[in-house]
């Protein structure tokens, strides 16, 4: 078998819809690509853009952001704020020379385990097609790490 690039993807979920969609996918034994590692937040509105930057800087090739469907937010409307930030973040990334396709926002209700699995598979393929994100390893450059921490 030829060596194919396996992207590393960090995913953010909200506690109420998309994390439970992952639970639903698990309970139903839906199989999906193992490239995504999920981090639970209370709400997609909690997603600080620096989380995404940090994940990409730390070695992730892509970041998946998930939340409740518009109108279904457990906190009424905070997923709309996640949407706004996502759109701005795509532009920022493009400005930094990073393909905006490395971040993706999807909505998944707690019932949509199948949909989440499908979206994960699709995103893994998309990031695989983009190839590795070769950002410089900042571990060797403490000054820059400090600069990032300052911003965060």
């Amino acid at each position: 078998m030829s060596e194919q690039f396996e992207p590393v993807i960090v995913g953010f979920t909200c506690n109420w819809c998309s994390y439970r969609a992952a639970d639903t996918a698990g309970t139903a034994r839906v199989k999906y690509a193992p490239n995504v590692r999920l981090i639970r937040l209370m709400c997609s509105g909690r997603l600080d853009p620096t989380f995404v930057m940090k994940a990409l800087a730390g070695g992730a090739d892509g970041v998946l952001i998930t939340g409740c469907h518009p109108g279904d937010c457990h906190y009424i409307e905070q997923n709309y704020k996640a949407l706004r930030r996502f759109l701005l973040l795509r532009r920022t990334l493009a400005g930094l020379g990073v393909e905006p396709g490395r971040i993706k926002l999807i909505w998944a209700s707690a019932a949509e385990g199948l949909k989440l699995a499908h979206e994960i598979n699709q995103f893994v393929e998309e990031v695989r097609a983009l190839g590795p994100l070769n950002w410089p390893k900042w571990n060797d450059q403490p000054a820059e790490i400090d600069a990032v921490k300052e911003v965060a």
Partner: protein, 665 residues
């Protein structure tokens, strides 16, 4: 045990086999050894695995280590935190460790159950564990928040489930607002003639409950009313209820019925009589309606449309008719809400090949219920659409709109038993031959299969197969003037054409057309089929993900009457539990402002949908009211100065988790 790394809290990692659920796809022993070896520098001083971490022995293992090794943080790699976070935080608490210093890693739902390569799955489990180990080091001890519970309860929906829930709470001595959008409570059950399998008269067993609900001093009955807005949270919901104008003064009305006797305008009743009968423009849906006060149907009232008539007003002996009545808006404070909003019936006209709406003698199950009912439009006579002819042969088609990928995939649960009941009633009252066209016979509840045997013994003919078509196009002389049911009899492997006089469509249940809006109003979600979603489908079927909002009856999925009653009572028990505790414990996940860092830029001010954030002009800073904050963290993410921090999900915690997850990269 390895020595503790300076400046790092002492962490214990516990990896669960979950029988073989995890260990069949994740090399648990390998993970255990790796955690000790590679995460030792991160503070991990002990790493263990166990067959079932959630068992009492597994929990004792953790408790023992906390006490003997002085663990300061615990990481349990097992199932989803939504299942066992409480369990393990409880174990930590018993051993004297603040529960919020324990975190779970889902390596079952997110790893072993969804991946197929053991090497990759094990690697992913390690990376998730590393993330949580880094995160938990940043966790701070937290105390649960306590909020008082308002003892009033809102029940939405006055069907049997809602009535049951309201009575249970009211009988325990607490106040209930029972809201129903129709003029009377009773719901679908009030429309039925008989209930399976006992053949109890539906009204005879329901109406005493309705009267009880109507006369209980602890129940405020709000019929012809709808909830229009809900704010607040568990313990303190503020609900606005629109009380639609009845145009009848409830203080004066005695329910004597002279108004609807004198009303000259007849209207087809497509709610209670399922379109088979008539009511007046001023009406109560049925004789035993609770409350007894009628409503005036404004779009159909001659006075409202043409400006003259007022027959009801002229004849009313107590001057109760009030054409100037306006919609009223009531504001009520409640601590808990039970949603028992019921179901809609599937629209039989959508299955065009069964001819409903086109072939007059094709009836829906609800039309047949009304026809059988002695107080219904035919006075209990089973006749064809002409109102005179008795059928000689009747065909009953199961699963109309259910178990069909063109309509609804799910089984509507009650249609088999309902169809068997119909077969019995047709036999009993007309002696006609009855065919049941079924896919599978589902009679799985107490005394249900015995009823099936009884109907079999009565001589009903059963044809196993999905009906292709109902048509009036005769091919043979004996088919002339009949409805022909075209069906594949799968038990003999042949196509059959069976001529009948009358066809009954056993239509399925569907979520309410406005279920999604109702869900949004109360902050709960619907499953992909559209039914309200339970907190856990097996173990918590009457709770939702929103604290203080409970669901009961067919609003959560198709159900029979005993099921709806049980859920109504169960939801009430939950509410009573909350009320009797007087206060509810909430997760201490809240945002707070570091006032030294806040520059007063006010970027966060408009972000909070709960109005928890307010600006203090005299101090030039922003403050967050912890009683209103729900902990979503949107303001934390927005603060450009990093002045807002969120407990439980702080920047430090998330950054550490990202670092940990990407550690090996």
């Amino acid at each position: 045990m390895s020595e503790n790394t300076p400046n790092k809290p002492k962490i214990g990692v516990y990896t669960c086999h979950c029988g073989t659920n995890i260990s069949s796809m994740v090399d648990v022993e390998n993970v255990r050894d790796w955690a000790k070896e590679h995460l030792g520098s991160e503070g991990v001083i002990v790493s263990r695995d166990y067959k079932f971490m959630c068992s009492s022995l597994g929990q004792e293992l953790i408790e023992k280590d906390i006490k003997e090794l002085g663990l300061e943080r615990v990481v349990v790699a097992a199932c989803s935190p939504h299942l066992h976070e409480k369990t393990f935080r409880g174990a930590s608490e018993r051993a004297g460790l603040n529960p919020y210093l324990t975190e779970m890693v889902s390596i079952r739902e997110q790893v072993s159950w969804v991946h197929t390569d053991k090497v990759v799955a094990t690697a992913k489990a390690k990376s998730l564990i590393a993330g949580t180990v880094e995160r938990v080091a940043q966790n701070a001890p937290l105390e649960k928040l306590k909020v008082p519970i308002n003892a009033n309860t809102l029940v939405v929906g006055g069907g049997i489930s809602g009535i049951q829930a309201a009575l249970e709470v009211a009988n325990a001595g607490f106040h209930v607002y029972l809201v129903e959008r129709e003029p009377s409570i009773g719901g679908h059950m009030a429309q039925f003639d008989k209930t399976f399998p006992t053949l109890d008269c539906s009204a005879c067993i329901l109406t005493p409950r309705m009267v009880e609900a109507g006369s209980n001093p602890n129940i405020t009955l709000l019929t012809w009313s709808e909830v229009v807005s809900v704010t607040g949270f568990v313990g303190a919901f503020n609900v606005t209820i629109k009380k639609k104008a009845r145009f009848v003064n409830e203080e004066l009305c005695t329910g004597c019925g002279i108004c609807w006797e004198k009303c000259p305008k007849s209207v087809i009743d497509d709610v209670y009589e399922a379109g088979l009968g008539y009511r007046k423009a001023v009406y109560t849906p049925f004789a035993q309606a609770v409350p007894k006060y009628p409503v005036i149907d404004k779009p159909n009232c001659t006075f409202f449309q043409k400006g003259t008539c007022k027959a009801c007003e002229k004849f009313c002996p107590t001057n109760a008719i009030d054409f100037n009545q306006k919609d009223e808006y009531l504001n009520v404070e409640v601590g808990n809400v039970i949603l028992a909003t019921g179901y809609d019936l599937f629209d039989a006209g959508r299955v065009t090949n069964y001819g409903y709406g086109r072939l007059p003698n094709v009836f829906t199950s609800m039309e047949f219920e009304r026809m059988c009912n002695a107080s219904g439009p035919t006075g209990g006579e089973i006749t064809l659409r002409d109102g005179i002819t008795k059928p000689q042969t009747v065909g009953i088609i199961h699963c109309v709109g259910s178990r069909d990928k063109n309509y609804n995939n799910y089984c509507s649960t009650i249609c088999c038993m309902q169809s068997l009941k119909f077969a019995h009633l047709v036999k009993e009252r007309t002696g006609a031959d009855v065919y049941e066209f079924y896919i599978d016979m589902r009679t799985a509840a107490k005394s249900y299969d015995e009823f099936y045997q009884r109907v079999l013994d009565e001589g009903t003919l059963f044809v196993r197969g999905k009906v292709a078509e109902v048509t009036d196009a005769a091919r043979q002389p004996h088919e002339k003037g009949k409805l022909i049911v075209q069906v594949e009899d799968t038990l003999i492997g042949k196509q059959r054409r069976i001529p009948v006089d009358m066809v009954l469509l056993s239509i399925g249940m569907e979520p309410r057309a406005d279920a999604k809006e109702t869900g949004k109003l109360f902050g709960i979600s619907c499953s992909s089929d559209g039914w309200f979603m339970e907190r856990h489908p097996k173990l918590d079927p009457i709770s939702t993900m929103t604290e203080g909002i409970y669901i009961a009856g067919c609003a959560t999925g198709p159900k029979d009457i005993p099921g709806s009653v049980s859920q109504g009572a169960a939801a009430a028990a939950r509410v009573l539990d909350k009320i009797l505790q007087k206060e509810v414990e909430l997760e201490p996940i809240r945002a707070s402002v570091n006032e030294n860092k806040c520059s007063g830029c006010r970027i966060c001010n408009n972000l909070c949908p709960f109005s928890a954030i307010s600006f203090m002009p005299e101090l030039g800073i922003t403050r967050i009211n912890p009683a209103l904050c729900q902990g979503c963290g949107t303001c934390v993410a927005a603060c450009p100065a990093g002045a807002i921090s969120g407990t439980g999900f702080s920047n430090e915690q998330i950054f550490a988790q990202i670092d940990g997850i990407l550690m090996g990269i």
